[in-house]
C-alpha cells in the first residue's frame, strides 16, 4: 500500500518556540490515523503543514505524493480540510455553503447536484437545506463542515478536532461518517484529545510538547509500550485508599478510577500483596485486586510522565 502521508523530521518554529519538533510518520492509504495529544501539543500546526497552508521550518514530507514544501497547491486539489474552528459561512444557508464549495472545487455541473444531495443526506440536514448555518446545533454544523470538505471526493481528509465541544451522540455519529469515508478508501487524518476516540483509529500517534512520543495501533500501544502492569483495585473509601496506595513502595503511581483505583507497578504480584495488606490495615476493605490491560489513557499518562521525567533529568544534568 502506498503512503498517502509521509513526513520526516518535520519542524515548525514560531520565533524561539518550537511548536512541532522533528515529527516523522507515515499514513497508509485508507487508514484512519489519529493524532492524539493535549491542547497545544502541536497537532494543529502539524495538520496545517500537511495541508500546505503553513510552511515547515525544517524537515520534509509529502501528501498524496506531492511535496509539502514545493507542491502545496497540488496537494490542495486532493485533500479535504476541516479546521479546528468552525469555518463555514454563518450567514449563508446550508445549501449556499455547499454550492460555494462545489464551485470552489469546480465540481462538474453534471454531478454537482448528486454530490450536494449526498452531503446533505450524510449530514442529516435534509430538512434544513435552507436554514442559516448560524442557527444549526454544534453536531450538525460539524457534519456540514465535513460534507463541504469531502464534496469533491478527496483522497485524504484532514480533520482538526472535528468533535470538540459536540455532544456524545453527535460525536458517535460523526465517527460513523469517518468510518464510512475510510470504507470508501479515503485516508483520514484526524486529531482529537478525546481518549475514547483514539480507540476508534487504525493507528495513532501521540504528540506531546511538539514531539511524537508513541506511534502504533491502539492494541500495540496498550500491550507493547508499557513495561509496567496496571492493577485495578476495588475497595472501600477510595479517596483515603489513594493516599495509602501512594505510600506503598512497590506502587509507582496511583490514581482514582471509577469507584476504585488504578495502580501502576513494575512487579504486579509484589504490589498486589503490599496493597492488600496496607489497605486492609487502613480500613479500606479490599474486595478485589487484579492486573488489567491498560487503557490508552493509562498508556498516555504513563508515557507523558516518563517524558517529563526524562526532560527534568536532562535539565538537572545540564
Amino acid at each position: 500500500m502506498a503512503n498517502e502521508v509521509e513526513i520526516v523530521g518535520l519542524e515548525r518554529r514560531f520565533g524561539s518556540f518550537v511548536a512541532v519538533n522533528g515529527i516523522s510518520l507515515e499514513v497508509k492509504q485508507g487508514e484512519v490515523f489519529g493524532f492524539i495529544g493535549p491542547n497545544g501539543a502541536g497537532k494543529s500546526t502539524t495538520i496545517r503543514m500537511l495541508c500546505g497552508i503553513l510552511p515547515p521550518t525544517a524537515g520534509s514530507g509529502s501528501v498524496a505524493g506531492f511535496d509539502i514544501r514545493t507542491q502545496a497547491e497540488r496537494i490542495k486539489q486532493h485533500i479535504g480540510y476541516m479546521s479546528q474552528k468552525f469555518s463555514l459561512y454563518d450567514d449563508l444557508t446550508v445549501e449556499e455553503n455547499l454550492t460555494f464549495f462545489s464551485g470552489i472545487y469546480r465540481i462538474p455541473s453534471a454531478v454537482r447536484k448528486a454530490r450536494m444531495d449526498w452531503a446533505v443526506a450524510m449530514a442529516g440536514l435534509e430538512a434544513h437545506r435552507s436554514a442559516l448555518t448560524r442557527t444549526l446545533a454544534g453536531g450538525w454544523k460539524q457534519r456540514l463542515a465535513l460534507g463541504c470538505a469531502v464534496l469533491h471526493e478527496p483522497r485524504i481528509v484532514f480533520l482538526d478536532e472535528p468533535t470538540a465541544g459536540v455532544d456524545p451522540l453527535s460525536r458517535r455519529r460523526f465517527w460513523d461518517l469517518i468510518y464510512d469515508l475510510a470504507g470508501r478508501g479515503v485516508t483520514v487524518f484526524v486529531t482529537t484529545h478525546y481518549m475514547d476516540e483514539a480507540e476508534y483509529c487504525d493507528r495513532i500517534g501521540l504528540v506531546y510538547r511538539g514531539e511524537l512520543i508513541a506511534l502504533g495501533s491502539p492494541n500495540e500501544l496498550k500491550t507493547g509500550v508499557m513495561r509496567e502492569a496496571v492493577l485495578e483495585v476495588a475497595c472501600a473509601r477510595p479517596q483515603d485508599a489513594l493516599e495509602v496506595a501512594e505510600r506503598c513502595t512497590s506502587v509507582r503511581e496511583a490514581a482514582l478510577f471509577g469507584a476504585g483505583l488504578h495502580a501502576v507497578a513494575a512487579d504486579a504480584s509484589r504490589a498486589t500483596a503490599e496493597l492488600r495488606a496496607a489497605l486492609d490495615a487502613a480500613g479500606c476493605t479490599v474486595s478485589r485486586i487484579e492486573p488489567i490491560t491498560p487503557s490508552l489513557e493509562d498508556v498516555f499518562v504513563s508515557l507523558i510522565e516518563a517524558h517529563d521525567r526524562a526532560a527534568a533529568d536532562k535539565e538537572a544534568a545540564a
Binding site: 514560531f14 503553513l54 510552511p55 497547491e73 450567514d91 460555494f100 464551485g103
Partner: protein, 377 residues
C-alpha cells in the same frame, strides 16, 4: 481564467452583502452625508462680509458712499458705531469682519475736490477672506471716487475723457464664479475614493478573523480568482454609490454637467476598480478588520481631501508637496471630473489622467493578488 470559481466567490460575497442590510445602508448613507456636508458647508465664496460703519459725517455724501458698500451683495450691515471703540469691539467679538470709518469732514473734502481719508479695518485672521473683502472694498471705493470725478468734470462743462483701459472680463467654465460648481465634481472623487476603499477593506480581513480564510486557503482556489470574485459585488455597490453622487450633483447642487456622460462613467469605473483594489490590498495586508478600516481611512480620505486638488489648489502648494500629490490617485480623478463637468473636455485632452487611472487600477489589483498569501504565516 476560471469563471466557475470567480462566480462562486462573487455569489457568496453578494450573499454576505445582501444579508447585512445595515452595512449596505451605511454604504449609501456615507456618500449622501459627505456630499451634503461638504457640498453645503464647503463654500469658498466670500459673500456678505459683515461690515460695521462709523459715519462721523452723516451727510448725503457720506451716506451715498456707505451705501456703495452695504448696497452690494459683498457686504452686509453689521450695525452702526457711535465711537471708534464700538468698531473695535464689534471686530473683537466677531460680529463684524470689517469696519468702515468715515471722517467728520467727508462731504466738505469731497466737494472741495480733496482726497477724503476713509479708514477700512479688516479682521485679517482669515487671510483668504480678508484679501477678498479688501478687494471688494477697494472696488467699492474706486467706483464711488470715479463717479465723483466724472460728476465734477461734467459740472465744469468739459467732455469726460474716455478711460484709458476698458477691461472686459469674461469668465469661462464657471460663469457664476460659484465655488460649489468646482467643489461638487471634486467631492464626487473624494467620496468614491473613501467608499471604494471602505467597501472592500473588510472583505478579506473579516475572513481571516472569522477563520473561514483558513478553510479557503486549503482549497485549490487561485489568488486572482479570490481577489476578482470578491471585488465583483462591491463593484456593483460602488457603481450605485457613483450614480447617487452624480445624481445629487445635478439634482441637489445644480452643478452643470457639460462633458460626455459615457466618458464620465468610463473614467469613474476605472477609478472605482482602483479604489476597490486599494481597499482589498489593505484588507489583505492587515488581516485585521479594525486595522483595515483605520488604514483605509488614513490612506484614502486624508490624501483625497487635502492632496487631490479637491478644494486646495495644487499650484498654491509648496513644490515638495506638489510632488507628493502626484502619487495621490484621487488627484487625477479630481482633474478628470472637474474637466468633464465644467469644461466639457474629452479624451483628446484628458488622456494622460485617464491613462494614469488605468495604471493605478491595474497596479493595485496586481499588488493585491501578489500580496495575498495562501499561507497562515
Amino acid at each position: 481564467m476560471n469563471l466557475v470559481r470567480i462566480h462562486a466567490i462573487a455569489r457568496k460575497e453578494t450573499l454576505h452583502v445582501r444579508r447585512d442590510m445595515r452595512s449596505l445602508l451605511i454604504t449609501f448613507a456615507i456618500p449622501v452625508m459627505l456630499m451634503l456636508l461638504y457640498g453645503y458647508a464647503l463654500s469658498l465664496d466670500v459673500n456678505e462680509v459683515p461690515l460695521i460703519v462709523f459715519d462721523q459725517n452723516v451727510t448725503p455724501a457720506s451716506r451715498e458712499f456707505v451705501s456703495q458698500f452695504t448696497g452690494s451683495r459683498y457686504f452686509s450691515r453689521a450695525g452702526h458705531a457711535a465711537t471708534l471703540r464700538d468698531v473695535e469691539r464689534a471686530i473683537d467679538r466677531g460680529t463684524a469682519m470689517a469696519g468702515l470709518v468715515v471722517p467728520f469732514n467727508f462731504e466738505r473734502l469731497v466737494q472741495e475736490g480733496q482726497a477724503a481719508p476713509v479708514q477700512l479695518i479688516i479682521d485679517g485672521s482669515d487671510a483668504n477672506r480678508a484679501i477678498i473683502a479688501r478687494g471688494y472694498a477697494q472696488l467699492a471705493a474706486a467706483t464711488y471716487a470715479g463717479r465723483v470725478m466724472l460728476d465734477e468734470v461734467a459740472r465744469a462743462g468739459i467732455r469726460p475723457p474716455e478711460p484709458p483701459i476698458d477691461l472686459r472680463t469674461r469668465v469661462w467654465f464657471n460663469e457664476d464664479l460659484a465655488s460649489r460648481n468646482l467643489i461638487v465634481p471634486g467631492l464626487i472623487a473624494v467620496v468614491m475614493t473613501v467608499i471604494g476603499a471602505l467597501l472592500t477593506a473588510l472583505s478579506v480581513a473579516r475572513e481571516w478573523e472569522q477563520g473561514t480564510m483558513e478553510q479557503l486557503i486549503a482549497t485549490p482556489v487561485r489568488r486572482y480568482e479570490l481577489v476578482l470574485g470578491k471585488l465583483a459585488p462591491y463593484f456593483v455597490v460602488g457603481l450605485c454609490d457613483l450614480m447617487l453622487c452624480v445624481a445629487m450633483g445635478s439634482l441637489v447642487f445644480h452643478v452643470p454637467l457639460r462633458g460626455s456622460i459615457p466618458l464620465l462613467m468610463a473614467g469613474s469605473v476605472v477609478f472605482l476598480v482602483g479604489a476597490l483594489g486599494m481597499g482589498m490590498l489593505i484588507s489583505i495586508a492587515t488581516r485585521n478588520v479594525q486595522l483595515a478600516v483605520q488604514t483605509a481611512m488614513m490612506v484614502t480620505y486624508m490624501p483625497a481631501l487635502i492632496l487631490s486638488g479637491f478644494f486646495i489648489a495644487i499650484p498654491n502648494m509648496p513644490l515638495a508637496i506638489q510632488w507628493i500629490t502626484r502619487i495621490v490617485p484621487a488627484r487625477y480623478f479630481v482633474t478628470l471630473l472637474k474637466c468633464i463637468y465644467l469644461k466639457g473636455l474629452g479624451l483628446e485632452l484628458l488622456w494622460p489622467d485617464a491613462v494614469l487611472l488605468v495604471v493605478f487600477a491595474a497596479a493595485v489589483l496586481l499588488l493585491a493578488v501578489r500580496k495575498f498569501k495562501k499561507r497562515l504565516a
